[in-house]
């Protein structure tokens, strides 16, 4: 397996940012702002954020803002909560949240809370606990959680709890590690983890580890590097991360590196992408891999960035 090819991964990310004319990058255009968040956070964890010119990034992020206050995935795209969080996170990385009209952005987010406490992703009304997380995380980073009904937001998430202690995207929907991260993260930010059956959910989550050491997202599915993040961060937030074999997971993630060209893939020998590179590096940071900046499991930003926002 070898060690983490940190330099190579940083180079890979800087290169992908510039690549424009292959199919993969064109197919990512609609979520470019998510891609930027993944890439920049990875660079920060690797200690390489200075390699990026924030004078270019910040204006581009702002160019994705829609008149409603929400952000689109790219310039000229419709606004959505998913992209709004990425925009806020990127600005937080550069300590530039003040460039935002905070009241306008928070009004946009708060306007998407429904009567039952759930959140729509945008004006078209798709409801999902992913959007609850995104809205709550965004508002917390802006110090504007008071703009929504927190009690109802908690109640809605609890109504999505399942037999296995996990959570789905709407009431009755099957548990899925990505969705669990969203629900646990949102509850953590709202100080409401006492609603979670930590032992039951912890058992389900720790059973996501398969023989290879990798983690899957649901029972009887293949392991995938991105679940290193979803499962690990959830296990950390409920204080059950000691229930998995961390060393085996480190090995699995390192096995998914492209040692030559940089980047990390979903499984060993698959094609790499920014998404999995981010989740692999962030996962290693959660596993206390040496030389990496610590990342916060709830806000998905480096710990020093989160502390700067909340502890001063």
């Amino acid at each position: 397996m070898g060690d983490l090819a940190a330099e190579k991964h940083a180079k890979y990310i800087l290169l992908v940012e510039k690549r424009k004319d292959d199919v993969e990058s064109v197919l990512m255009e609609h979520l470019r702002i998510n891609g930027a968040y993944w890439g920049l956070t990875t660079l920060d964890i690797l200690g390489k954020l200075e390699a990026v010119e924030q004078e270019k990034v910040v204006p581009w992020v702002m160019s994705c803002q829609h008149q409603s206050g929400g952000f689109g995935g790219n310039e000229g795209h419709d606004p959505h909560l998913l992209y709004t969080l990425s925009a806020i996170q990127i600005l937080a990385l550069f300590d530039k949240i003040e460039v935002l009209d905070i009241d306008k952005v928070s009004s946009y987010i708060a306007s998407l809370q429904n009567e039952d406490g759930s959140f729509s992703g945008d004006i078209w009304g798709e409801i999902d606990t992913r959007f609850s997380y995104v809205a709550i995380c965004s508002l917390a980073l802006l110090h504007r959680l008071d703009r929504i009904n927190v009690e109802k937001a908690v109640k809605y998430i609890i109504s999505c709890k399942n037999l296995d202690g996990g959570f789905g995207c709407t009431p009755g929907a099957e548990s899925h590690a990505g969705q669990i991260f969203c629900c646990i993260g949102a509850l953590a930010i709202m100080g409401s983890l006492h609603y979670v059956d930590k032992d039951l959910l912890g058992w389900w989550l720790c059973e996501r580890q398969v023989k290879s050491g990798g983690l899957n997202g649901r029972p009887e599915k293949l392991p995938d590097v991105c679940y290193s993040w979803w499962v690990l961060s959830s296990l950390i937030m409920i204080d059950r991360v000691h229930w998995i074999d961390k060393e085996k997971l480190v090995k699995f993630i390192l096995d998914c590196q492209d040692i030559e060209k940089g980047g990390i893939s979903d499984r060993p020998d698959d094609a790499v992408d920014v998404f999995h590179t981010y989740f692999g590096v962030a996962g290693l940071s959660l596993l206390e891999y040496p030389g990496l900046k610590a990342i916060d499991p709830a806000y998905a930003l480096p710990v020093d960035v989160v502390n700067r926002i909340f502890l001063r």
Binding site: V23, N162, G172, D258, D270, E288, V303
Partner: protein
């Protein structure tokens, strides 16, 4: 982004890719142009065709779906008079949308945008739900675990009011096709939960249905014990079998019938004692409205109950009130009775909103201890909590009787009358799983058997624990640690809980001389003849990785948990009498792991030396404790004042929030990565009452 093999692109590949990319890019820019010009141009056929092509190559392009929704609304609102009543016209518009969605789903079955668009269109009405079910049956056969399809199925079933029993049959069919279908088991639990809640005939009482379900899932688990599909369903059934229908008071302190002799705190010239209520699950609503406190001579008023937990919503397993004996009674020699009761505790509810509505009460007597004693640790030197300074207790002393009464508070009549059928079901499962283990060595067999045995024993004996069963469960967990090393710590934690329960029960039930001598010790300086302080419960060097059975330990004033493997002390907050606590040589990984100590206002002596505080970059307690990150507390402005502009002190926000509220006299904190000279200076400043730090006397 998933499942694409890693390979170097040849120049031919790169060329093809660039060509295709250019084509998509052109579609995207044409589409975006149309999208932004929509105010001027209407939704032309050409524009919609470009949009459909774009969606076909990239179903995740959300703005493209939004455009279709705008176009859909536009064409409905701009119908001519003739078209308005024409349902065929509307139908054709809808059909076109459903066709585009279907194409997108063929490209990417997991496209959120496509599924939502379908839902959005179908919920406008006018479309055939029959067709939706046909499509679902087709899709769900191809990909039996697709959660989008299952969600869509629940949506259609709800819209069309398809009966839950019919949907239940669908899950039965799916499972019979292939039992390895977690999605189907999940949906089954959802449907059954609804049927149980509504007490639909055939599902209430639960007996018959549970028996059938146990058999159904057993077939799956026994066919392939390594397949996880049925594991969690079985655990859910077990929970459905044993769970109580309402929260109960599990234990409390002071013990019923006991005589409290409350010492006067000379410094503060007051005498207080706590009353602790411990429930079997977190509850809210404990207050003077729901709890009645009757005292002779009306000695106490203004009683307030506080939750012992770090959540801001006022819910906790344990609640406490500190009753203060009024000043004018301090030199009186009267003994008076206190009765704590709850006749109408409907206001006390579990997190799921179920009320505790069974009356309960207990009573004890209180007097002021006139025999003046120095407050703990005050006039004494430093207590050295090492083995040679503990001597065995004198089992002939009254103390044994006191301990015994303290152990016997468990509220036996609150135990549910266990139904015969429940214990029979579990007994039959136990024999089935024993049978499985006789021919297959599998972890789920052992783990399930251990869980069944614990459940069965609790049902038969109440709070007790049959020694042979405890031994068997511990044996199973030991085997699991060997059989499944990656989850070693999970079994280890379970093991610790069972071990502690076993010890607590041995102490409580038998109060045998041997068990008391083994765990209860008396502090006595080896050089002195004097016995000092209360009896110490020594649970040291037991290799415990987790603590539990707290409800049995409410009487403890001095506790030794040193030389274990604890990384958490969650639960200790309920031990309100605790004045001396030894946690040295454990695995506590951060200051926030000490969060429960905040609630221990009587704590004077604390040893947390040789832990891992400061040794980790990841803090697993960060979101379980009080912190501005979880919005449980605001950032403490007092801290800024305390730090007084010293940027380095700003790093000590966490220890400030933990130790700031404690009244420690003696603290040992050596052997932690976070402790250096600067930190020691900070502690000395923060804790003015501290007399001993890391073995040295402070001046």
């Amino acid at each position: 982004m998933h499942g694409r093999p890693r390979k170097s692109a040849t120049p031919v590949d790169e060329n093809a890719s660039a060509l295709k990319a250019a084509k998509i890019r052109s579609l995207q820019s044409q589409f975006l142009q149309n999208h932004h010009n929509k105010m001027y141009k209407s939704y032309t056929k050409e524009a919609l065709e470009i949009n459909a092509k774009l969606i076909e190559v990239n179903p995740e392009f959300m703005t493209a779906w939004n455009y279709r929704k705008l176009a859909f609304e536009h064409s409905l609102s701009s119908q001519s008079e003739a078209e308005k009543g024409d349902s065929d016209h509307i139908k054709s518009i809808i059909d076109e949308e459903l066709r585009v969605v279907e194409n997108a789903l063929r490209k990417n079955f997991k496209s959120y945008g496509a599924w939502h668009h379908r839902k959005w269109v179908v919920s406008k009405g006018n479309s055939s739900t029959e067709r939706e079910l046909r499509l679902l049956n087709l899709f769900q056969k191809q990909d039996t675990r697709n959660f989008h399809a299952w969600n869509y199925r629940r949506f259609i079933a709800g819209m069309k009011s398809i009966s839950e029993e019919k949907e239940l049959q669908f899950t039965t069919d799916m499972i019979n096709d292939n039992f390895s279908n977690y999605s189907a088991w999940h949906n089954r639990s959802v449907l059954l939960s609804h049927l149980l809640e509504k007490k639909v005939e055939g599902y209430f009482p639960k007996e018959t249905f549970l028996t059938e379900e146990y058999e159904f899932v057993r077939n799956a688990v026994f066919t392939d014990p390594d397949d996880q599909s049925g594991w969690f369903y079985h655990l859910w059934l077990l929970d459905q079998t044993i769970k109580l229908d309402m929260p109960i008071l599990a234990s409390f302190w002071p013990p019923p019938g006991s005589d409290l002799n409350v010492p006067i705190d000379l410094d503060a010239n007051k005498a207080t004692f706590p009353v602790i209520l411990y429930f079997n699950e977190p509850v809210e609503g404990v207050s003077s409205q729901t709890i009645t406190v009757q005292t002779e001579y009306d000695i106490h008023d203004n009683i307030t109950w506080s939750p012992l937990s770090t959540n801001k919503f006022g819910c906790a397993l344990a609640w406490v009130t500190h009753m203060r004996i009024p000043h004018e009674e301090l030199d009186s020699s009267k003994t008076y009775q206190v009765k704590i009761s709850s006749e109408h505790s409907q206001g006390i509810t579990s997190l799921s909103g179920v009320s505790l509505n069974r009356p309960w009460s207990f009573a004890f007597t209180v007097s002021v201890c006139q025999h003046l004693q120095p407050a703990e640790g005050q006039s004494l030197g430093r207590l050295s909590l090492t083995d040679e300074n503990f001597c065995t207790i004198d089992t002939n002393l009254n103390m044994t009787a006191l301990l015994k009464s303290a152990f016997q508070f468990t509220n036996d009549d609150e135990q549910p009358t266990s139904s015969k059928w429940k214990s029979e079901i579990i007994a039959s499962e136990i024999s089935q799983y024993r049978e499985l283990l006789s021919w297959a060595e599998c972890k789920i067999g052992k783990l399930t058997l251990a869980r069944l045995l614990v459940a069965y024993d609790a049902m038969i004996t109440g709070t007790q624990f049959t020694p042979s069963i405890a031994e068997e469960v511990l044996q199973l967990l030991t085997e699991l640690m060997k059989l499944d090393p990656p989850h070693y710590q999970y079994y280890k934690d379970e093991y610790s809980l069972i071990l502690l329960k076993q010890i607590a029960v041995i102490l409580q039930v038998t109060s045998s001389k041997e068990s008391l001598l083994k765990y209860c010790w008396q502090y006595k300086e080896s050089t002195s003849l004097n016995i000092t302080g209360p009896t110490c419960l020594r649970l040291n060097s037991l290799s415990l990785s987790r603590i539990g059975s707290i409800e049995q330990l409410l009487w403890v004033q001095s506790l030794d948990l040193s030389h274990n493997q604890l990384h958490s002390i969650e639960g200790l907050e309920a031990l309100q009498l605790l004045s001396c606590l030894n946690l040295s040589h454990n695995k506590l990984g951060s200051f926030m792991a000490l969060d429960p100590l905040r609630f221990l206002k009587s704590l004077r002596i604390l040893d947390i030396s040789h832990n891992e505080i400061g040794a980790h970059t990841v803090d697993t307690k960060r979101y379980l404790c009080s912190s501005p990150l979880s919005h449980k507390v605001a950032f403490d402005k007092n801290f800024e004042e305390f730090a007084n502009g010293d940027a380095k002190v700003m790093d000590f926000w966490e220890p400030f929030s933990i130790f700031g509220g404690l009244n420690l006299i003696q603290l040992d904190i050596m052997g932690n990565a976070a402790v250096d000279e600067r930190f020691v200076l900070f502690l000395v400043k923060l804790l003015p009452a501290l007399k001993w730090l890391n073995g040295e006397e402070l001046h």
